[in-house]
């Protein structure tokens, strides 16, 4: 079976700083994999290497069997199949929610305006912001903006979705709405690679949890194992800090 994502001996340097020190991992179609770990552990960099927003210094990235680190591959075509959701939403501020979800459909997939609008409204409804079609991002709450961003990615009919700390910039009371949308996506069988600090979400929704620290994968397994009964001391220390911050 072809893996949805395969990372092989991935290394990434920022200057002299080695952020990824040899990552090997796979995500299978339909799997939900959550990457957890302390800040600076390289988890966002790992995610951004999958669609080449960061170019790995060494190693290979395969998406659905295609080597995206091959310089001859059409990276735009690969990215069309990978939805990405950012911590800071990155909605286009000069467009309404509807236009945000339509623009890439029209410009990249060459859908007609009519078709793009139908798809956009469907997806905005699906994530629960259907009534906000004509609002500009600045008029929306963080939770609404992030859901529009998810709709924008879904409208491209991606095969897999990358989430880069999607709830970290949200007020606590808005986190639930976004997680609920992600949970629904997972139930529909979407392949998802999620960098997150939401341990509850990872425990309940993920098929696998990957714990990273210092640019390497420390533990990789079922949530019950990695979060419930970690075998490594580093994992235990991290989880203690996250789950009982006041010690």
């Amino acid at each position: 079976m072809t893996h949805a994502i395969e990372l092989a001996d991935l290394h990434k340097y920022f200057g002299k700083n080695e952020v990824l020190r040899g990552i090997d991992m796979t995500v299978d179609p339909g799997q939900v994999v959550c990457v957890i770990g302390p800040s600076g552990s390289g988890k966002s960099t790992l995610l951004r290497c999958v669609n080449l927003l960061e170019v790995p210094t060494r190693g290979k990235v395969f998406v659905e069997g295609v080597e995206v680190t091959d310089p001859d591959v059409d990276i735009d075509a690969v990215r069309r199949r990978i939805g990405m959701v950012f911590q800071q939403f990155n909605l286009f501020p000069h467009m309404t929610a509807l236009q945000n979800v339509m623009i890439a459909q029209q410009r990249v997939l060459k859908r007609s305006k009519k078709e793009a609008e139908v798809v956009a409204r469907d997806n905005l409804n699906k994530v629960g912001v259907g009534e906000k079609c004509d609002s500009y991002p600045a008029q929306l709450s963080g939770g609404q903006q992030q859901r529009v961003a998810i709709a924008r990615a879904l409208a491209m009919n991606p095969d897999l979705m990358l989430f880069d700390e999607p709830t970290s910039a949200l007020d606590p009371e808005l986190v639930g709405d976004v997680l609920a949308v992600m949970r629904k996506l997972a139930e529909e069988g979407m392949t998802m690679l999620v960098v997150t600090h939401e341990m509850g979400f990872a425990r309940e929704v993920a098929d696998r949890v990957v714990f990273m620290d210092g640019g390497v994968i420390v533990e990789d397994g079922a949530p019950a194992q990695v979060i419930g009964a970690p075998s490594q001391e580093r994992t235990r220390t991290f989880l203690r800090r996250v789950l009982h911050p006041e010690g």
Binding site: D76, R79, N90, F92, P93, R107, R152
Partner: protein, 275 residues
């Protein structure tokens, strides 16, 4: 306990700070009044009015002041502005290009045209036909004036655009690219529209600067149908040996530039808001 340290008396100012401020302000008013009185007494008001505000001479500016001079000033300015806008955007994109020679070309252009007096560019334009035999700037004097204003304005406008382009967060490009847009498409659908919105106020300042610089068309050797405000005023002033036409054209400039200045200030105030 012979010499006990004397406790320093709090230095008692002979004048209280408040008193000092009052005196200072009083002196400033006295200077102003003396200057005004001197001006009123010693200036020859009759002579001044005769040279700078003579109604009979003022009347000779009409209707050509508006039908020719202001109209031409607007044509030069808008044409020059359009050229500087497009050329400036191109230069800004070159300035930020990954291709090094493009960056060099843009930097050299910007430094030269910002470093030279605009007047010099206009003087050089007069020699274009000599340098390029058979070449003619289209639209005659209009074309020459627009070319001069556009080339000078582009250097400044390029820096305005560069600041705007760099102010668009990197995440915007990343979002566009991750949706499968090419680098070029991301630039044109996502980055440039936002940059242009951000630079509206400084761009309007550029427009005002070009409006004033359009007076340099004076140095292009212009026939009467092409005159703009400054030359129009100057020619009439020589005819009448009287400065009134220049004063009138000055007023005409102000009628346009001052409201535009206020508009810019208002737009800058709204900068925080989106759209």
């Amino acid at each position: 306990m012979a010499d006990q340290p004397k406790t320093a008396e709090p230095a008692r100012a002979r004048l209280s700070p408040r008193k000092k401020r009052q005196i200072s302000r009083g002196v400033q008013y006295v200077i102003l009044v003396v200057a005004l009185v001197a001006l009123i007494l010693y200036a020859d008001w009759g002579k001044l009015a005769e040279s700078f505000a003579e109604p009979d001479v003022a009347r000779t500016t009409l209707p050509e002041l508006f039908t020719i001079a202001l109209r031409n000033t607007v044509i030069y300015t808008i044409g020059g502005f359009a050229l500087s806008f497009l050329l400036g955007l191109l230069l800004a994109l070159m300035r930020l290009s990954e291709v090094r020679p493009y960056r060099w070309i843009a930097i050299v252009y910007i430094e030269i045209f910002r470093g030279l007096p605009a007047l010099l560019i206009f003087l050089l334009i007069n020699y274009l036909p000599l340098a390029l035999p058979g070449f003619q700037v289209p639209f005659g004097t209009y074309g020459q004036g627009i070319l001069g204003l556009g080339m000078v304005g582009a250097a400044y406008q390029a820096e305005v655009f560069r600041a705007g382009l760099q102010a668009v967060p990197k995440g915007q490009t990343e979002a566009a690219r991750s949706l499968g847009m090419s680098a070029m498409r991301a630039q044109f659908t996502v980055v440039i529209p936002q940059a242009i919105r951000m630079v509206i106020p400084p761009t309007m300042n550029q427009f005002v600067a070009l409006l004033k610089d359009s007076s340099l068309v004076l140095f292009l050797g212009v026939s009467s149908q092409y005159v703009e405000l400054a030359k129009f005023g100057n020619d009439l002033a020589s005819t009448h040996s009287n400065a009134t036409p220049i004063m009138i054209t000055g007023l005409t400039y102000l009628i346009v530039t001052i409201p535009l200045g206020y508009l810019v200030t208002r737009l800058e105030g709204r900068k925080g808001r989106t759209i």
